[in-house]
Structures are given as C-alpha cells and as structure tokens.
C-alpha cells in the first residue's frame, strides 16, 4: 500500500490526500510532527527526504518527494482514464505543467504567509509573501474568468479537472489564515466551489465542504 508521510495541516500533503480520494486509492498515513516537533528536519527524516520537506510517499519501495511530482506519478500510474493527467495531448500536458509550477509559487507566497501568521515562522517577510500571493491570485482569477467565458470549468481546457486544479486548490483555500483575502477574486471563488463538488472531495482542517443545500440544487439541475 502507498505510504504517505503526512502532516494534517500541510496543504501540500492535502493535495495527495485529495488525488488519492478522487481516485479511490487507499493509503496508509505516517503522521510527521511538523509543528512544533520539527520532525521533518530530523536526521532520521532527512534519510527519507534530504530536503527535510513534506510530503513524501513510498509506493512499494519507490520513494518520491515534492507534491507536484507525486501528483504526476500517482495520476500517471493509477488513473487509467487519463483524466487527471492527460499525457497524450502535448498542448494540455504543457499547460498542466505550467500550472503545477504556478502552484509552487502559491506555496512560497500564500502558504508562507500562513506559516508566519499561525506557527511563528517569524523569519518570513509576510508583506512580501502576501503581495506575491495577491499577484498570483490576480493572474489565476483572470485566467479562470476567461476560461468560464469559453465554457470551461477548470484551470486547463477540457471537461475534467486535472492535477493542476488539485495543486492550486489547498493554499488558495487556506489563504485567509495568512491574511490574504479572496474577496477580490470572484472567479477563484466560483472555481473553489466547483472544486469542492468533485465526487470524492475530502476536507482538511481549515477547509469546509460545499453546503449541502447547494449540492442538492446542483443534483436537481443535473
């Protein structure tokens, strides 16, 4: 079984829990005491990931780090429909990769601001982190707005969400914990609402499900 070195409050670990839940893939979680224990920086954990970062998976002996890389791996190996990582279309593949890199930018800005505000990561320049997050949110909001005009629901063109949506979702959804409001990004807010209604969606602490009333309405409309 896939083993996930996990921390409940990590948005990057949450990305993998989301994909595995969407795919109906079972896993075993090994909780790492990220805060306040700093276990991910311990010599023992650096044997598993020399960068001292979460998440890491171990799939039958293949040890992989980096949330985006693991999304690519899991989708390629376990999603036979190729919906989540449409690797046969070069244009889509390029776009998915582009937004996976963008998601890393969300981590270094929105997630950093959250660590600063809640967990005493005082070495982070929170104003720079928040400004960076707002810049990225503006770009994604515009992108999603024009995608909606084209009848598209997701970050990359197609009828199905991709791992790019998964990679961008967590730290956008948790941004208020770092003092970054989503008030000015209506297309992002509509997209997060759609995301929460993907079958198999699970929450993490700090993320709440879409309201049941809205779900029922969506069922009626469908």
């Amino acid at each position: 079984m896939i083993k996930l070195y996990d921390y409940e409050l990590s948005g990057n670990c949450y990305k993998l829990r989301l994909l595995m839940s969407f795919l109906g893939l079972e896993h075993e979680a090994e909780p790492i005491d990220f805060y306040p224990g700093n276990q991910h920086k311990s010599p023992e954990f650096r044997q598993i990931n020399p960068l001292g970062q979460l998440p890491v998976i171990d799939d039958e002996g293949l040890v992989l780090r980096d949330a985006q890389a693991i999304l690519v791996y899991l989708a390629s190996k376990y999603d036979t429909s190729e919906n989540w990582y449409p690797s046969s279309d070069p244009a889509i593949l390029g776009q998915v990769s582009q937004w996976l890199a963008f998601a890393d930018g969300i981590t270094t800005t929105a997630s950093a601001a959250r660590l600063h505000d809640a967990m005493f990561y005082t070495q982070i320049d929170v104003d720079v982190a928040r400004a960076g997050a707002n810049k990225l949110f503006r770009i994604l909001d515009e992108h999603l707005y024009f995608a909606e005009l084209d009848g598209q629901d997701w970050i990359c063109p197609g009828d199905h969400p991709t791992i790019a949506d998964i990679a961008c979702f967590p730290y956008i959804m948790l941004s208020e914990e770092g003092g970054v409001s989503r008030m000015d990004y209506p297309a992002i807010r509509r997209w997060t609402d759609r995301f929460k209604r993907i079958p198999g969606f699970v929450v993490m602490s700090g993320v709440f499900p879409a309201g049941p009333a809205v779900e029922k309405e969506a069922e009626r409309a469908a």
């Binding site: 409940e8 409050l9 909780p31 790492i32 005491d33 805060y35 306040p36 224990g37 505000d117 809640a118 967990m119 005493f120 005082t122 208020e176 914990e177 993490m204 602490s205 700090g206 709440f208 499900p209």
Partner: protein, 281 residues
C-alpha cells in the same frame, strides 16, 4: 487598548512554548500589547524582558510564564500533569486573530461540534446539546458538569462512536480546561487545558497542554488529533465578528446550550475584566 485590569496584570501568563525555543535563541512576542523578549540560554535558563528590563519569569509544564505586575497568585496547579501514566505534552501553540476570550467561549461550546468538527466530535442530525449543570465554585471557578455528547471519533484511540462525558472548567479569564471520557476507562478522564496568551485585545496565542492517559496512544497521534480539531476551529474563530467578546447581556442572543457562556460573561463582568472584551453598557 491598554490593559488596566488588575486581575490580569497581576497574574501569570504563558509567553512561549519551550518546544518553539531552541537553546541560545530569542523569541519576540507580545503580552497585553507590550513587546516581550524571551530567551533561552545554552544552559536552559530562560529570561523575559520588557523594554530591556527583566520581568519575573518561570518555567512550568514546558512553557515560559511571566507577569507584568506583581503576581497575586501562583501559576495554576494541574494535578493531572504529575500523574505518571499520562503524556504531558504541548499540542503546539497557534496564533489566532481574535480575542482570547472568544477562544475560551468557543472551547466551552458543544453546540458547534456537529457543524465544525463534522465526523469527529459530532455529526448531523445529532445536533442537540442536552441540558447540563453549571456552577460557580467557592474558589471562584466555573464548572460545567453532566455534559454529554455522542461523538464519531472522540479521541486518537477511539474505535467507533461513543457517548462522551465532558467536564468544563474555567480557572481564570484566559485559562480553560476540559475533562473528557477516555474510551478505555470508565473512571478516568483525559484532560486538555488552554493557556491563552492575550497578545492584543483582538489577537492571542493559544498554548495548550494535553494530559492524556498513555494506554494505546502515542504523543505523535495526540498532537495530530489536537491540531486536526483546533485547525477546524481556527477559521471560525477568526471570522467571528466582533473580535472582542461583548459582555453586555443583550449584545448576542444566547440559547439554552450557552448556559456556561452566559455565566462566563457575567463572571468576567463581575471581575472587571475588560481586555479583549466590549464592556457592558
């Protein structure tokens, strides 16, 4: 807002969790809006200063405590912290953008379990808070008893849903604890206490100490569970408006389930605690 509440200024408050301090390090924080520096030297001695001048300071339960005035009482004694068969650990300190008094009130509230801690501490449609008892003790503490709630996953070692009994206890304005059924014992309870640091009137750091019976449990799973639950509360707390706790009985309409909160607000009024509050008209 300047703190002028004697009962608060002459009391001990946590300003750092030792788990966050490495030897030879400095930690800057605030207490009642005053900048405090906490440092831990290579020998493990801790000092607290304000404006470069030393403050009275103690280490207890793995936390650094200080007092801005003259301490009128000791740091709270928690007997559970001295029982050998319990883990005594910090679940991790978290900064929360609201008044610490709001955090106390949320901690005392069972009504939010099914909605905020869905699938863990409660589940719809079992949303009713059954009547419970509240009293003010001779030691000027608030105790709520006979609090029962059915919980899908009540603790890191729970196997399936159980009916949980809680006892809530407010010792001091920013110190609140609960005792909770341990799934493996009929006669012993797990214990959680929050030592809330009033950083500003609308900002706090929630420090917590977990005294859980070790049987079948690991420290890592204990921390995991505490953080899972607390991080569900955090966005709710930070979106409550106003951020200060209104003490006027007409300010926010209570329901029967808020019996303990009603007493808490009255008790704060009676002790003239206004920091982090909106005073009654």
């Amino acid at each position: 807002m300047k703190c002028e509440d004697k009962v608060l200024l002459n009391d001990w408050h946590v300003v750092a969790d030792l788990a966050n301090l490495s030897k030879g390090s400095n930690h800057s924080t605030n207490l009642f809006g005053k900048a405090i520096n906490v440092s831990l030297d290579a020998d493990g001695n801790v000092t607290c200063t304000k404006d470069g001048k030393p403050l009275t300071c103690q280490l207890k339960y793995g936390f650094v405590w200080t007092c801005l005035g003259e301490p009128s009482r000791d740091i709270l004694h928690v007997p559970e912290a001295f029982e050998d068969d319990r883990f005594v650990v910090s679940g991790g300190s978290f900064a929360v953008k609201t008044s610490g008094l709001r955090v106390v009130e949320n901690f005392l509230d069972m009504g939010h379990f099914p909605f905020v801690h869905t699938g863990w501490l409660g589940e719809e449609p079992h949303t009713e808070v059954k009547p419970y008892e509240v009293e003010l003790t001779e030691d000027n503490e608030i105790i709520a008893t006979e609090c029962y709630f059915s919980q899908p996953v009540a603790s890191p070692t729970a196997e399936g849903a159980i009916d949980v009994e809680y006892v809530y206890r407010v010792y001091r304005p920013f110190t609140v604890a609960l005792y909770k059924t341990n799934p493996h014992y009929d006669d012993r309870m797990d214990y959680i206490v929050l030592f809330i640091q009033p950083v500003g009137p609308e900002d706090c750091v929630v420090h917590n100490m977990l005294c859980y019976i070790k049987n079948g449990m690991s420290e890592a799973s204990l921390r995991w569970f505490m953080q899972l639950i607390f991080a569900q509360d955090k966005p709710i707390l930070e979106n409550q408006v106003p951020r200060r706790l209104p003490l006027d009985p007409r300010a926010e309409t209570p329901i029967r389930a808020d019996k303990v909160a009603i007493l808490y607000r009255r008790w704060l009024r009676d002790q003239q605690v206004n920091y982090g509050a909106i005073a009654a008209a």
